[in-house]
Amino acid sequence: MNHLLPQSFFHWCVNTPLARLISQSMWGFAVLETVHLIGLTLLLGSIFVVNLTVLGWGMRQPAARLVRQVTPWALAGFLLMIGSGVPMFLSAAVTYSGSIPFVIKMALLLSAIALQFTIHAGRYAGSAVGKVTAGLALLCWFGVAYAGRGIAFEVLFGTGAG
């Protein structure tokens, strides 16, 4: 990612007051990671059940009705993830700028969001295209979580990336 954006941007990030606060506190990052994990449970839990239902392996109710019911929870999870993820990025932006798992995570995240909105556009409800999209989106979402764990270890698929 250090080729996509100028290095000065990442240095600006780590020097913001919020970033300084986090890196100077002993437990700041740990608390943010905990919030990130609770958010993940809510968001992935919502998406998992919705996409399974689109695939025909989840709930019996129509997917559209399920989506209406779980959206507030998915949104809460997403806000928790963004609200904790952005400060974590700020506090370690220079490190993340050279992290391959981080770039993969962001690419998968954009793909997952795009695929998820394709499903909810509704045109493909019940069709084979809709099912394939739901399956792909699910793979991308789990990939986001997997790559996210990889950022901490700088390891992906067993090869050192850092």
Binding site: A30, E33, T34, L37, I38, L40, T41, L42, L44, G45, S46, F48, V49, L52, G58, M59, R60, Q61, Q69, V70, W73, F142, A145, Y146, R149, G150, F153, V155, G158, G160
Partner: protein, 171 residues
């Protein structure tokens, strides 16, 4: 043999040493543990929210339970398997970590909660299957389950911090 002696013996087995020293095994197992979390607690929370009367109030309780429990079971199997491997990698470190001990005390309680639900509450589901508000025993099971799992998630995350070598050395 005392529990500590058993843990110390486990710590020196070749499997434990491999899990601990391999650059791949530990991160990979932790990633699987994370995906298992999304599947297990990510599905069980909908059963809990339905019982609490907070979400899916219009759906039959039997629909929610019967459609999601197999996935929760699958997720928990993944969690148990990967969790066991994580433990086997550093048995002595985890055994001596306080938050891990609390987590291990809460896990059986979550099991008892599921047992209580199926043996004492779910047996009469026919009478309240379509009701938005289920009997108090059912609502209690939902609240207890959510509270236990959220606590277990937090304790699990903090186990990784307190068991970390850097933290232990700083202490």
């Amino acid at each position: 043999m005392s529990l500590l002696a058993l843990v110390r013996w486990l710590n020196e087995t070749s499997l434990s040493i491999y899990l601990r020293e391999s650059e791949v095994a530990f991160p990979l197992t932790e990633a699987v543990h994370l995906l298992g979390l999304a599947i297990s607690v990510g599905t069980v929370m909908w059963v809990d929210l339905r019982l609490m009367g907070i979400c899916m109030r219009g759906e039959r309780v039997t629909d929610v339970v019967s459609r999601l429990e197999p996935w929760a079971g699958f997720g928990f199997t993944v969690m148990m398997g990967s969790g066991l491997l994580l433990f086997l990698g550093k048995p002595e470190t985890y055994y001596t970590t306080a938050v891990f001990r609390v987590k291990m005390l809460l896990l059986p309680l979550a099991g008892v909660n599921v047992w209580f639900f199926h043996r004492k509450v779910y047996t009469s589901v026919a009478r309240w299957d379509e009701k938005a508000v289920v009997p108090w025993q059912g609502r209690l099971v939902g609240w207890v389950s959510i509270a236990l799992w959220m606590t277990i998630i937090v304790l699990g995350r903090w186990t990784a911090y307190f068991a970390d070598e850097l933290f232990r050395r700083a202490k």
